[in-house]
Symmetry: C2
Subunit: 199 residues, 2 copies
Amino acid sequence: MPATIDFYFDFSSSYSYVALPGIAKIADDHDVMVNWKPFLLGVIFNALNHAPPAGDSIKMRYSHRDLERCAEAAGLPPFVFPSPFPFNGIVASRAFWHLDESDSEKAVEWARAVFHASFAEGRDCSSPEVLADMATSLGHDAKQLLEATAEDTVKARLKEITGEAMDRGVFGAPTFFVGDEMFWGGDRLVHLERYLSNA
Amino acid sequence: MPATIDFYFDFSSSYSYVALPGIAKIADDHDVMVNWKPFLLGVIFNALNHAPPAGDSIKMRYSHRDLERCAEAAGLPPFVFPSPFPFNGIVASRAFWHLDESDSEKAVEWARAVFHASFAEGRDCSSPEVLADMATSLGHDAKQLLEATAEDTVKARLKEITGEAMDRGVFGAPTFFVGDEMFWGGDRLVHLERYLSNA
């Protein structure tokens, strides 16, 4: 049985976005499956009493330059921060889990589109109007998709995944698991790859 | 003129230690000089109101596993945390700057020894006895070296470097500069290398 990688991310996580090409490459090179698992990092930050990076801090300014370099190294378009940032990814996440109920590939296509809109185009993916526009572009019924994000089963699924992430020790994004082995950060994909090679 | 890399580190920074082989490789491959610059990260944390990672946090437990993997990937001995950790690197840093006054290579040799003693052997490099023992092993006059760490010029030099780091925007360790381009973290040596290659 091929290994699988559990990939926990928050749509507002710029470092999850710049990790996408690296994840795709590892999945290809090692013939592993990737389980995309959007969750709400803010819920975990609150539970752990971790402060998110402050918008005006010296670290945040460095981080912008760092993300530009990460995007360039990964072959992604020039990096941009959407406004607002961080943004609330709850509706985008619920839409993902709704799509995932019937077609996991459509859900992943949605996730890629949300990330690209946010960090390559600077669009506000907390906005229902922006999400509706993207849904239409991807051939979905926008009204139906947004309505589905209010369904109890979809809300419960996002809560469940966020709880699962917390139970497994996730405290940031992106976080990857191969079995019980946890890797935090796109820069740790090199460790994940070593782990797969030695397994 | 070959490029130089300014390498700011704190002796208590485990992530500076695991970056050493990577720095050496880049220096070799690109024929660049590395300026080793120990400073006091705690002073900057205080000034910026940044909290150091808490010893018992979930992040710290992950960090231990991460450092084991970093050390292994870098070809270093099995990683160990010294006790206490973090430790106060002020005496080890002053000894570095004293040695640097007359022989920068001896200073770098000292830095490597302090890092190895701390994170491969788990010795307490905040202890004058441990430092004296190491100084003797390296062929220094231990008593003279420790006495020199109380000299005003040596104290002033460490303060100056810590202030210089803060002025340049350093908020963590290791931090590297090529000219004004700043790279934070050993995992960003891949970006530094791209930068050198494209320069």
